[in-house]
Subunit: 195 residues, 2 copies
């Protein structure tokens, strides 16, 4: 006789969703330091097997948790003007990356990736490449519209843009503010712009 005051035991995909959400909650409340599999299972009221059955590694779990909140803030209607669109995209990305739950989860993934080349590759494939790709689409459109020189390796250009911002955010105490973004875009346009 299941007590109606106790939640029924959830399984499968529903459990998975719940676990990812708990991970994000924990990241928000106790930060990167509190993101142990043990703590996540405890908080979720779940046996550790239930976690390990789904993710072989803490990195894998964190990557999935990250994906849960990653794409939400990236939908943006481009206006067609390169400088405006890149600026808006970068501002949104930085804003998302600066506050929980994205910030602690992201930093945890970065840390995890340093000790595991596979996790590093997954991080780049699933997230960093996404941002580079989004940037690449914008600069490609601008190039076709004649706003950028035709002889430019846009893939590399996108990497420079994103890399500079990530570097500052992850490895320096300086904030990625509008001044930084504007400076970066100015340099970019000076190098590759047609005007």
């Amino acid at each position: 006789m299941p007590n109606e005051s106790s939640a029924p035991r959830r399984r499968g995909a529903v459990r998975t969703e719940a676990l990812l959400q708990v991970t994000l909650d924990l990241a928000t409340e106790v930060g990167y330091a509190g993101l142990s599999i043990e703590a996540i299972a405890r908080r979720a009221g779940v046996g550790k097997h239930t976690v390990y059955r789904r993710w072989p590694t803490k990195a894998a779990l964190l990557l999935d948790a990250l994906q849960r909140v990653w794409t939400r803030d990236l939908d943006y209607r481009p206006t067609g003007d390169l400088h405006t669109d890149l600026r808006e995209q970068f501002l949104r990305s930085v804003s998302a990356l600066t506050s929980p739950p994205l910030d602690p989860v992201y930093r945890a993934v970065i840390a995890e990736a340093q000790s595991d080349p596979a996790a590093r590759a997954a991080l780049h494939e699933r997230f960093l490449r996404t941002v580079e790709q989004s940037t690449l689409e914008q600069v490609t459109r601008a190039q076709r519209a004649g706003q950028l020189r035709a002889d430019v390796d846009l893939t590399f250009a996108a990497e420079v843009l994103c890399g500079t911002l990530y570097y500052r955010h992850l490895l320096t105490p300086h904030p990625v503010d509008e001044a930084a973004i504007d400076g970066l875009l100015d340099m970019f346009m000076a190098a590759y712009g047609t005007s």
Copy 2:
């Protein structure tokens, strides 16, 4: 009566040096994963107190160990030509960062810095800033020589150069090869060069 076949108990600065060297050795042999204070003390034949008395944090120890091998490969006689000098400096830095013991220790510091803002600030102040500074000196010299535009924020420019390389090295699976460095320098010169 001290047995001459057993090494005399070392103290003070000598001990400190030995511990840093053990840290680098461990990093070379077992990599980032093996860099626990416990393992370092064990390998050095030393009580853990002897480590904790010197460094309050694993991050502090790693930062000091890093400094031991950091500056060695950076002495380089600039020729006066910006492109050549930057290229040479970046090639050397990347080469040093790619192999042990620098690579595992560096990655350990990066990981540590993600969970501790103080460690992050120390990392930037003691190492990243050093590289930025070295780059800054070169571009400043070039600006005075008229090779770069006069209206450029060189500090920011140096950050872009270094940040791009660090991003690729630390967070992507792509190697920082000559093509990447050349592409970066081409973009830099296109943006800020006077010719």
